[in-house]
């Protein structure tokens, strides 16, 4: 079972994504901001995939992508955010994001993308 790490400051988002992914057969870890997420990664969490929001308190998604990439060179990182953050797409890419998704992404669509970045998942 593949491990997916979800990072978002919205409890509803975390619940909805966690539910979607657990139903689809993934094990899910969550964090409510970039700093907490980085703490878990530094603590030894080694997810197969990270899905992060961009606009978050303490440490935003771009910062998390940059720092997480230093710890996990090959782990796919997807940014899942709103249309308003479109201008940060290139910045996310430069910092090591694997892909960019605009909310809302349906369950089937999300699983399809995950299967693309995690072959065999």
């Amino acid at each position: 079972m593949k491990n997916v790490f979800l990072v978002d400051d919205s409890a509803t988002m975390l619940m909805s994504l966690k539910g979607t992914l657990e139903i689809s057969g993934y094990k899910v870890h969550t964090a409510s901001d970039g700093e907490a997420a980085l703490g878990l990664l530094r603590g030894g969490l080694k997810p197969d995939l990270i899905i992060t929001d961009i606009n978050m308190p303490k440490l935003d998604g771009i910062g998390l992508i940059r720092e997480a990439r230093k710890l996990l060179r090959f782990t796919p990182i997807l940014a899942l955010t709103t249309e308003s953050q479109q201008l940060k797409r290139e910045e996310a890419k430069k910092n090591g994001a694997t892909g960019w998704l605009v909310k809302p992404v349906g369950g089937a669509e999300l699983v399809k993308v995950i299967k693309q970045v995690l072959p065999g998942a």
């Binding site: 509803t12 994504l17 539910g19 694997t98 892909g99 960019w100 809302p104 089937a108």
Partner: protein
């Protein structure tokens, strides 16, 4: 209409409300009274002027005095009106300032109402997700039970299939056994029938007996002829006696053989009758065949039951249904991400209301200090434009553009999903 143009309108509209109207009316009455008093004070002087000039008046003088009088009255009225106007303006500004301040309370209430609605919507969405997860949990448990049944069912199917196979093998063995038994019965019958060939020996015995009798006759004749021959036929008489003894013995043996053949034939006939009876009735094999037929029928029904169970198909259908439910739930949960987008939109509106409140506060201060603000409209427009930075959807930008005529922020069209 933009907020910049709306607010002054609201303020002026407020100034014409009942309390402001009462104040203005009182001031107007005071001004009118003052004018009357001034005019009343001027009246004696005017009368004197008229009386002193009326007698020797010339029309020009009268007209000049009249003009002077009217001009003075006009000036006085104008001064009184200006004083009243200043008093009225001051009061209107104070009233407008009060009203603008009250509008801030109004905004605060609306802002908090929005916050409450958003919080309730969040809780509602989370409850929906929890319910969905519960539904999935139930579906999952049911599927696990079915999977457990699947394992048991597969074992049962395997046992039943083995049983059907064993029954088939048993049937084959019994069939072979019955066939063998039937073949044995037939073989016995055939052998017994072949033994009946012993009866064919009876005529041969008759022939032997006849030959023995003829030989006896010949020996008797030979003995007679030997006796006639006298001494020379003595030897021949011995031979004739031997031949006679031999024929007698042959006759005895033939009789004995005939008896034995008859005895054997009788036994064979009895055996044959019994064998034929068994073969005809075939009681045991018939029973066996009935058993075999029953077994075969039972086996066929059993096999049909095993096929009819079709557990694999049922479980496959259940699995497919479960996966369909899971997929739909996952999709529905994904759609709830829209709640987050809506939350961000509402937060943006709240921030907008907070901006407007700040602006109204500033307006209140300006009104109270009677300090005109010339950049108010521009500041308000800037604030509204700055709000575009909070937009989360292109539709918000389009709405902004529709209302203000200004671009709602740079939102390049990019794919919703992009893998780098």
């Amino acid at each position: 209409m933009s907020p910049a143009t709306t607010l002054p309108h609201v303020a002026l509209h407020g100034a014409s409300r009942a309390p402001a109207g009462r104040g203005t009316k009182a001031l107007r009455l005071a001004c009118a009274a003052l004018t009357v008093l001034v005019l009343a004070g001027l009246a004696p002087w005017l009368q004197a002027q008229l009386q002193s000039h009326l007698a020797a008046s010339a029309a020009a003088e009268y007209a000049a005095v009249a003009l002077l009088t009217l001009g003075t009255a006009g000036l006085l009225r104008s001064a009184a009106q200006q004083w009243c106007h200043n008093r009225t303006g001051h009061s209107q500004r104070a009233l407008t300032a009060d009203e603008v301040q009250e509008a801030q309370t109004y905004l605060e209430v609306m802002q908090r109402q929005l916050g409450g609605a958003m919080q309730e919507a969040e809780q509602g969405a989370q409850q929906v997700i929890e319910r969905m997860q519960a539904v999935h949990q139930v579906s999952n448990e049911q599927f696990e039970r079915i999977q457990s049944t699947e394992a048991n069912g597969q074992e049962l199917t395997r046992v039943m299939k083995d049983k059907v196979m064993v029954d088939a093998q048993l049937g084959s063995i019994l069939e072979m056994f019955v066939q063998k038994q039937e073949a044995d019965v037939q073989a016995n019958l055939d052998r017994i029938q072949r033994l009946q060939g012993v009866k064919d020996l009876t005529p041969l015995v008759e022939v032997i007996a006849a030959v023995a009798r003829q030989t006896n006759f010949l020996s008797i004749n030979a003995a007679i002829e030997a006796a006639r021959a006298g001494e020379s036929g003595r030897g021949f008489a011995v031979v004739a006696a031997e031949i006679r003894a031999l024929s007698t013995r042959t006759s005895e043996v033939a009789v004995d053989i005939a008896k034995k053949i008859n005895g054997a034939t009788a036994g064979i006939d009895e055996e044959l009758a019994a064998a034929e009876d068994a073969s005809t009735r075939q009681t045991s094999s018939s029973n066996m065949r009935n058993v075999l037929a029953d077994i075969a029928e039972m086996r066929d029904r059993f096999a049909a039951s095993v096929e009819g169970l079709a557990l694999d198909e049922v479980i496959h259908a259940v699995r497919s249904g479960h996966q369909d439910i899971a997929g739909r739930l996952a999709d529905a949960m994904g759609e709830l991400q829209m709640q987050d987008v809506t939350r961000q939109r509402i937060e943006g509106v709240q921030e907008g209301l907070a901006d407007l409140k700040t602006h109204l506060q500033e307006m209140t201060e300006h009104l109270r200090l009677a300090r005109p603000r010339h950049d108010g409209v521009a500041v308000l427009r800037e604030r509204l434009q700055a709000h575009t930075g909070l937009y989360v959807m292109n539709s918000q930008r389009l709405t902004h553009q529709d209302v203000t005529g200004q671009a709602g922020g740079d939102a390049p069209h990019q794919p919703k999903i992009e893998l780098f």
